[in-house]
Symmetry: C2
Subunit: 250 residues, 2 copies
DNA sequence: ACAGCCAAATTCCTCAGACAAATGTTCTAC
DNA sequence: GTAGAACATTTGTCTGAGGAATTTGGCTGT
């Protein structure tokens, strides 16, 4: 039998999960997808670990992960309870990935792009004011690779990611960097394999160049609006779950 | 006597931490404050748990919490390594609290307010377009309480928080809500006890009313700019580390 | 009948020790 | 010199036990 590691094509997007990680992922998906409702109690540690056929240690570490992301809360004598949605760390990279793991909620996806629009456009404007020559050089090189290899190749996608990474770096705000990279990672991994089949509907290079030139020119307003259009185009190119009416969870 | 209607929730700012939670907090503070550097290896589980005089179970659960927030990464035969800053979930509420637990870094605080400015102003603009009469009623009531009791009292501060909470609610974007409430909670808890002694330097009610009226009028642009000034005023009123008084001291 | 205190039951929390799995390192064969 | 095997080390998982915290119910005094 061949190894099942056939996924790992050099990129560390698929990190091998330990047992506690798998349990946390499964439970996390069950929670964010609504199979457990806020206020519900998970069955006790002993019962849960027995049902999953794992040790209490592994199960407890999984619960600890979920608690760290605000999804659950454990107290003696009461049990482990699903927290209200207002306490969830919705922007945690794992929570984002779990949220969009299966059938992405259309409203949620739109809200996410709304946030991306706001934050990334602002980041571009800040980058226009703070970028150094080194930043510009790295961004130019990234666009070069993107144009040379196209997004159909690994190298091309890497150029795309590098462009955005350097743009964020140029914004100089670590919180914006942390927020955006996490969101982008989740969006990429969840939408990438979907648009694997069909060719990209549009050439993204000119739009990136427009952002770059605005940043290079030190024009915050233009950088803002150009990045905003870039995000809107990304939303348009995102394959939406049009199968909503057809498929039903079985 | 009717029960307390508004948000029912008291203030959970002081949550009792279990052993693993305390260890995670201590280690987390040590990491975000730079006492451990990215790339550093923590001493092995057995040695660490012995030095802390706790069981390996408790220590491992603490590490699991830190790993869930992106601060560390564990691999067999290698150990538990401090992750590069780019992987930290800087906007995780706990990480934020740990970051500003002791001596808040001035640059980081400024970056945080920069993000608040961007996101909360956008949220106010969205709220101006999407608010319902119920939202407006709740916000009006919150401002009322804020004006009646002043921010020197618990009830007044609750009104302030309720105002912002309802404004975010009116924005209708769960990601913006999650982001902002987490940031606000961290900023509040870290700056609140500092400005307890001195009286507030300025009456915040008129500024809040300005935001409210713009939202009520359905004017996104005005709501945007009024909220922006509100955030800037909040930054001005934030007691900064007085060590900056003499800038070029040494 | 009711408020406040006390005891009991339940659940998570912590501990200790052992073995298994994974991974980096070293050694060996060719 | 390189590829593969053996080894050592560290985290990962399991098991069993007891302790700690919190809710629940009952008891007591008024």
């Amino acid at each position: 039998m061949a190894k099942r590691a056939s996924f790992g094509r050099g990129r560390p997007i698929n990190k091998v999960l330990r047992l506690h990680g798998s349990i946390a992922r499964d439970l996390g998906i069950a929670i964010v997808s609504g199979r457990y409702q806020p206020g519900d109690l998970l069955t006790g540690e002993v019962a849960s670990s027995e049902k999953l056929e794992v040790s209490r240690t592994a199960y407890r570490e999984a619960v600890r992960i979920l608690a760290a992301k605000g999804l659950v809360e454990s107290k003696p004598k009461v049990g482990t309870k699903i927290s209200p949605r207002s306490k969830w760390n919705l922007l945690d990279p794992d929570v984002l990935a779990w949220t969009f793991a299966n059938e992405p909620d259309l409203d949620l996806l739109q809200s996410l792009f709304e946030l991306r629009d706001i934050v990334e456009a602002a980041a571009a404007a800040m980058a226009a004011k703070r970028r150094t020559p080194e930043h510009l050089e790295a961004m130019r090189d990234a666009i070069d690779r993107m144009a040379r290899f196209t997004l159909a190749t690994e190298a091309g996608r890497l150029g795309d990611q590098d462009f955005h990474r350097w743009l964020l770096e140029a914004s100089g705000n670590p919180y914006i960097i942390s927020l955006t990279t996490g969101v982008q990672a989740a969006v990429n991994t969840t939408t990438m394999f979907k648009q694997r089949e069909r060719p990209l509907p549009r050439d993204p290079v000119p739009d990136h160049i427009a952002v770059f030139e605005a940043v290079a020119a030190g024009d915050p307003d233009r950088a803002h609006s150009e990045m905003s259009t870039l995000v809107h185009l990304a939303l348009q190119d995102t394959p939406l779950p049009r199968a909503r009416a057809k498929r039903s969870a079985g």
